[in-house]
Point group: C2
């Protein structure tokens, strides 16, 4: 059975393309309060669970030990655009733990933020690991490993291979996902993410439960509950750090602050927590389209769940019903959730 259409692109009078998908909205007790499509099929959450993956950074004491500030904690939850503020914060995190970019095992890619990429090219430079959209997450992993290693001089050796599933750092990260979602990861399909860490396929209903818990602390161990609250506050205080210029996570959390914690993932995944409602949600587009399918679907879903003020509605309207213009600025179509 195919999942229903969640987003469509109109050009002229016709629907030119459309996107199928599924989503689950779950409360802290694991009850599915709303769902569409198949929410039991395991999907790789990819970067959408970076918030859960950052729990050990705070819960282990590494964030305090190395004096990470809120902007840096927000970056640990980020898929950032590689803008200068992102790159600098990742470098600071590493420096606070006595490390540098050489410790990162995420690989390098050009900043997704086009002006940042062009500025780099204009300086005749090549991107390095700090430009990787996951560099803050990896810097957080490095801080956790540095704490585990004990003596700073032992950290580099200890960290080697931290992206592998069996490394002590990655075990802590997996344990945090497992505790939040209630899924035994040893039984879950496992693959390798873009930044080389494992990604475990979980049902949307389990991912949504994880975010209901992340948003409220209900059902989490005290250390993780405290860490979740601190990460949510950090991201709400520094929404630019979690994504970047013009990016949806930044736009939504700049407006809603702690009322919404949302995080995009590759291949059309979105997870979010709505703390005031005690709800978590997870969605996945079948075709893996994030930028224009998962985003409008997420916005429409959040808008249908949260009570909206007039100001909220004004922010939301152009995000869930996006006017498309061409290279001459002519309106050629519209992208909207269905």
């Amino acid at each position: 059975m195919s999942n229903p259409v969640l987003a469509e692109l109109r050009r002229g009078e016709l629907v030119e393309s459309f996107h199928r998908g599924a989503f689950a909205v779950v409360d802290t007790g694991g009850r599915v309060v709303r769902s569409v499509g198949d929410v039991d099929r395991p999907v790789y959450p990819r970067s959408a669970v970076k918030g859960l993956q950052a729990l050990p950074l705070v819960a282990s004491g590494a964030a305090d030990r190395f004096g990470l500030d809120d902007a840096e904690l927000a970056l640990a939850c980020a898929s950032h655009g590689g803008e200068p503020a992102h790159v600098e914060a990742a470098a600071r995190m590493l420096a606070k733990a006595g490390l540098d970019a050489g410790a990162l095992e995420c690989g390098a890619h050009w900043p997704s933020c086009q002006p940042a990429a062009h500025a780099l090219a204009a300086r005749g430079e090549q991107p390095h690991a700090l430009h990787n959209n996951c560099s803050g997450k990896h810097a957080g992993f490095a801080c956790v490993g540095c704490l585990m290693a004990g003596a700073p001089e032992a950290a580099r050796d200890f960290l080697r291979g931290y992206v592998e599933p069996g490394h002590p750092v990655m075990r802590e990260v997996s344990a945090a996902i497992e505790a939040a979602t209630g899924v035994r990861l040893a039984d879950a399909p496992r693959a390798t993410d873009g930044c080389s860490i494992p990604t475990f396929a979980l049902p949307l209903r389990a991912l949504a439960l994880g975010f209901a818990r992340f948003g409220t602390g209900v059902g989490l161990a005290p250390g993780h509950a405290h860490a979740a609250a601190r990460l949510r506050a950090a991201v709400a205080a520094h929404p630019f750090m979690v994504a970047g210029s013009g990016r949806l996570d930044t736009v939504l959390m700049s407006h809603w602050r702690e009322r919404v914690f949302c995080k995009v993932g590759a291949e059309g995944v979105y997870c979010a927590a709505l703390p005031e409602l005690g709800l978590g949600l997870a969605l996945k587009m079948d075709d893996g389209n994030t930028a224009r399918a998962a985003e409008v679907a997420l916005v429409a879903l959040v808008a249908s769940l949260l009570p909206l003020s007039e100001a909220d509605a004004a922010v939301i309207a152009p995000l869930k019903d996006v006017t498309l213009t061409n290279w001459n600025g002519r309106v050629v179509g519209r992208l909207s959730a269905t």
Copy 2:
């Protein structure tokens, strides 16, 4: 009813994302020899019909009048990457007609070829109309308009608004599509393309017929049949000009030369002609994904229709079953046609 899955992306053991779509393979008599999914629903072909749109450039005599060479004719059929050779050829076409980039109404965007974009940024420059992936097509339109205008000094005024459906140049272009596909465009849904010219929604079976005719000349007026043969030969001789470095159209036609004429379009469209079989084909992915859905589906379809030598099979194999690596070069998945 939903169209079947034509391409899927595997990560680890799971299908992470998949793409539904439809295609039609049609002979010069309009008989559907093979089809999957709904081939009667009108779809916007976008850039996939640039070959048909270039017919008036040759048929009108403009190509000869202004002495366009094969590389330039190939560029007139192109969605190019904005690489230096593309930009220079578009400039030459215009210069031969006594025009410059100011005549183009396609708008500007950064080259899709990343090194070309970075080189432009490194020189502190901004992209202009010649970098637009459609600049060759538009330069061709400008040549047609210049011929129509008669005196060169009248050309600029005459050309103004050439992207509008009612302009004499665009009427010629629409007439060529109409003649090839057999669809009355006055009855077809019309929208505006990225480069501001009209795009008419046509059933896949009609688009496939258009390409069966384009590939053979059968069913076309003599002027268009001659023009189609010349354009096919030009693209076969200069496959780099029709797309660019690493791009599928360039790769396929560098290998097959005149045995395959294929052209990608935005939003998951592909059209192709297989002259030796007297067949045309057209496909559209529901979700509009071109780069990784329409491309593998097109390759698999062409490979299933053409007799393949061992050399052909070796070229085709990595294109229809694509190994995906991450930022560290680790194999993380596979993209393949189903």
